[in-house]
Amino acid sequence: MFKKSVNEFMNYIPFLKEIVKRDFKKKYYKSVLGVAWSMLSPLLMMVVMSILFSTVFKRSIPYYPVYWFSGNLFFTFVTQGSHMAMNSMITNSSLIKKMKIPNYFFCISKVTLELVMSLFSLIPYFIVGFILKVPFNFNALLFFVPIFYTYIFTIGLGMFLCAYATFLRDLEYLYSVVRRMWMYITPIFYPIDIVPTQFRFLWELNPIYVYLSIFRDMTINGVMPSERSLIIATCYSIITLVLGIVTFKEKEERFFLYI
């Protein structure tokens, strides 16, 4: 059973590549700057946010533009990726009805597309860090570890949401509200210090914050993240992925009636 699933997965890896390529091409179809937008738009936003907040948080955040940029990168990755994965059955319904492709590949492809986008916006991130003279540290070379955790987490979350959103289209609107709330409880533009100490454990329940702080430790603070946070991050990723797969597999058989 398990071996069969792995075989099936390996069989469709070329398909995953092609469909991500397709989505990528279509995303910037006919735009002049093309993929440069995935680097430009966070940069423009970063300028605005830095002007607004860098004086307010001067003492607690030394490199505000980089701080905000990293927060935005992880937040966009998770929320955009899970949102697109959530709707992937509906947006790909014409393919699902005609071809025999394991449905979950459409969820993975959307998250992978977002991963590619995030990797592109890492380029201006490191350039800005270099310009602002953020001290370089070899820990920064491990930046892909928190990104990988986030990738796994987002696939799980996307599959979980997709399993329900295919039947109940209202979830799309509900999730957009949830995303906005999620933005405020994630320290993207503010430092964690402004949260009262007795409530800080609540922030650790937020997976994005856990991944983000690992990433910031590595690339901005130049320290190795604590073992505790790595263990928590691993747990979040694995639990969410398993939950996503189980829910998806259970609901999958009835999808074609609803798309």
């Binding site: 069989n11 469709y12 070329p14 398909f15 590549k17 092609e18 469909i19 397709r22 091409k25 279509k26 179809y29 014409s94 393919l95 699902i96 009805k97 005609k98 071809m99 025999k100 492709i101 039947f167 109940l168 289209r169 209202d170 058989e253 074609f256 009636l257």
Partner: protein, 279 residues
């Protein structure tokens, strides 16, 4: 009344099995065993939370059940060409989709030995904003083929589809004939054990149709199994050896293509005559 009807059908189905029971097990490549498929024809779709809860309170979601297939039993021998015939809405396409694994049956099992190239719709799987070249790789990948494998087949596909001048043109600018030519070329150039073709020979001009028929008969000689849906009875007789006649989701009769096609034609004429009399 309904029950007695069903039992009659079941008995007929058993006759169908008896016909094919002589086939040794290793020769069977498609085994459809007592398959039933149901759709929900709900008038107001439960898309919204509000409707969902209202219906929950009203006492279970009111679904209008529609059985697209009921207790379908048949077996296909390796290398055979079987046609599914029947009027519109008789369940032919649903049966093909079930065999292709796109729809899961509510009851019963489908066992398929070998790889399937489903040709449910010729333009199926094409992205209209991509070029022919990109679409060939994409639909190849959908059938589980690597880029390298498709590269080897690329020229052959373009040549068969006669699209040498349009390789890098987006498919949305193609004529419908060009799209179907490309679809047929992509689906038949890859070596699948079973081809599922839903009305695919109804397209293109006479010259291309002849080319397609030649390709199909050469594949049959090579040992490929073909499941074929067509409304063109003459074509069915030409391509297929055996036929299955579906009506309202049930198998009415099965046997050699000649015999079944004649019966089907007679039945169609009969209903026409009835209609004329009534009017």
């Amino acid at each position: 009344m309904e029950i007695s009807n069903a039992t009659v059908e079941l008995m007929q189905d058993q006759n169908v099995i008896a016909d094919t029971s002589q086939i040794p097990d290793e020769d069977i490549c498609i085994d459809v065993n007592d398959v039933s498929v149901m759709f929900n024809l709900s008038k107001n779709r439960e898309d919204g939370l509000k409707e969902y809860f209202i219906n929950m309170v009203k006492g279970k979601v009111a679904f209008n059940e529609f059985w697209a297939l009921r207790n379908i039993n048949f077996k296909v021998r390796r290398g055979d060409a079987v046609a599914l015939i029947g009027r519109n809405g008789s369940g032919k396409s649903t049966l093909l989709k079930t065999i292709a694994g796109i729809i899961k049956p509510v009851r019963g099992t489908v066992t398929v030995k070998g790889t399937i190239a489903p040709l449910i719709e010729l333009s199926g799987g094409f992205d209209r904003s991509l070029s022919a070249r990109e679409n060939i790789y994409l639909s190849g990948a959908m059938h589980g083929h690597t880029n390298r494998y498709m590269k080897k087949r690329f020229d052959e596909i373009i040549e068969f589809a006669e699209l040498e001048k349009f390789v890098d043109v987006p498919v949305k600018n193609f004529s419908s004939g060009m799209v179907s030519r490309l679809g047929f070329a992509v689906a038949t150039c890859v070596n699948a054990d079973i081809i599922i073709a839903d009305e695919v020979l109804a397209v293109g001009d006479a010259k291309f149709r002849k080319k397609c028929e030649e390709r199909i008969s050469s594949m049959l000689k090579g040992g490929t199994t073909i499941l074929f849906v067509s409304h063109n009875v003459n074509q069915v007789k030409k391509v297929c050896r055996n036929a299955v006649w579906l009506e309202k989701g049930r198998i009415i009769d099965s046997g050699t293509a000649e015999e079944i096609c004649d019966k089907y034609n007679d039945a169609l004429k009969g209903t026409k005559r009835k209609l004329i009399k009534n009017s």
